[in-house]
Symmetry: C2
Subunit: 224 residues, 2 copies
């Protein structure tokens, strides 16, 4: 007997993710996944987005971490209803899975036009292989991580729809520029869409909101 | 038929790691594992260590990354012979495994008194569960990652011997101090040994070298 366990787990995950994606699309809810290393600024980006958001719809979130409910609490404080999943209680602590995300949807009250963020465990490797039902996936790469990360973690760039170079205010203090990271991203994926942002200075946030608003409007107007 | 595949893989890994650990101890070689998020400064720390190292013995390294040979090349340029393992060619891309590390040893010429670093894939979750033959494990946490990472990734602190808070020169530019991160580490593990370092300013490097020299001297004088 030989069982390709890894392939089976991926197939099950993909099937549940496809169901979630379709259910959210029919509901008119945009679902955006956020992937990054620990501390690249996923939660800080959502806090900044909440401060500036004028619609369409409301922002909600499902957030994954190995331990703590810190991120859900941060998001709740800035008006984003959020469900925390602690992966240490699941099979693989290193990434969210589609079944846990599907169950977390029950705890949210989603309405047409809303945007649902799914913030993954901080990890630039494992989350990439597991779809969760997102319509778009965004990878965040902080300038503080250095310029070589897109080359070292190519799937994080290849399998996502938008790359945000974050914490660009730190560029003068580290030996790398946002342009260098964008160039490394485009070496892996020449057609990559890249935005440089800083939640401290506000740089790039209007472009990020514009990207998001367009997709939220499309989702709201999508198939009923 | 039910196979606890995950437990089997861990048991095999642990057995090979124990063999490596013993073989290196008998050889009088200190083996230090480095774990961190992507871009916390593992390779930069080794470059700085190479510049300041006066013995005992020489520094050598085995470095893991999903893709590229960039780190081994950086280390070779500063005089550390290094073997690169690309985990994208192995079963699990997200961490080094003891079998690959054991094979990589063949490519190095280790001598009594040497220090061998094993730099893992940048990932604060998966590498923690897989011993590689290290006598000591060091976790690096960059101030740029924020103050909550020890709480969110508790095993990275619990299962390592020394925590280095890195890039402390960036503290004035981010909303977190080295002391805050050290306090979070000690909330998870009150007895944790913590050093604050910056390879840009040199802060804390003498303490790090002193920690390392002591352990290298112990290893050299160990059982024949």
């Amino acid at each position: 007997l030989r069982v390709n366990l890894s392939a089976d787990i991926l197939a099950d995950n993909e099937e549940i993710a496809a169901g979630t994606r379709e259910w959210l699309r029919d509901l008119g809810v945009l679902c955006v996944g956020l992937l990054s290393s620990p501390g690249a600024g996923k939660t800080a980006l959502l806090e900044a987005t909440a401060r500036l958001w004028t619609g369409p719809g409301n922002l909600q979130a499902i957030v994954g971490d190995v331990a703590t409910a810190a991120d859900a609490e941060r998001l709740a404080r800035c008006g984003i209803p959020a469900v925390q999943i602690n992966t240490e209680h699941h099979g693989a602590a290193c990434h969210l899975g589609a079944p846990a995300v599907a169950r977390a949807l029950d705890a949210l009250e989603l309405a047409r036009g809303d945007t649902l963020f799914v913030e993954n465990v901080g990890n630039l490797v494992c989350p990439v292989g597991f779809r969760l039902g997102e319509h778009f996936r965004v990878v965040l790469l902080s300038v503080a991580e250095g310029g070589d990360k897109p080359l070292k973690y190519p799937r994080a760039v290849l399998d996502t729809d938008l790359a945000l170079v974050t914490k660009v205010d730190l560029a003068p203090h580290v030996d790398v520029s946002a342009e260098e990271i964008a160039a490394a991203i485009r070496r892996v994926r020449p057609s990559a869409e890249v935005l440089a942002v800083s939640v401290r200075t506000g740089e790039g946030l209007e472009e990020w909101l514009s990207w998001l608003r367009g997709r939220a409007a499309d989702a709201r107007g999508g198939s009923p």
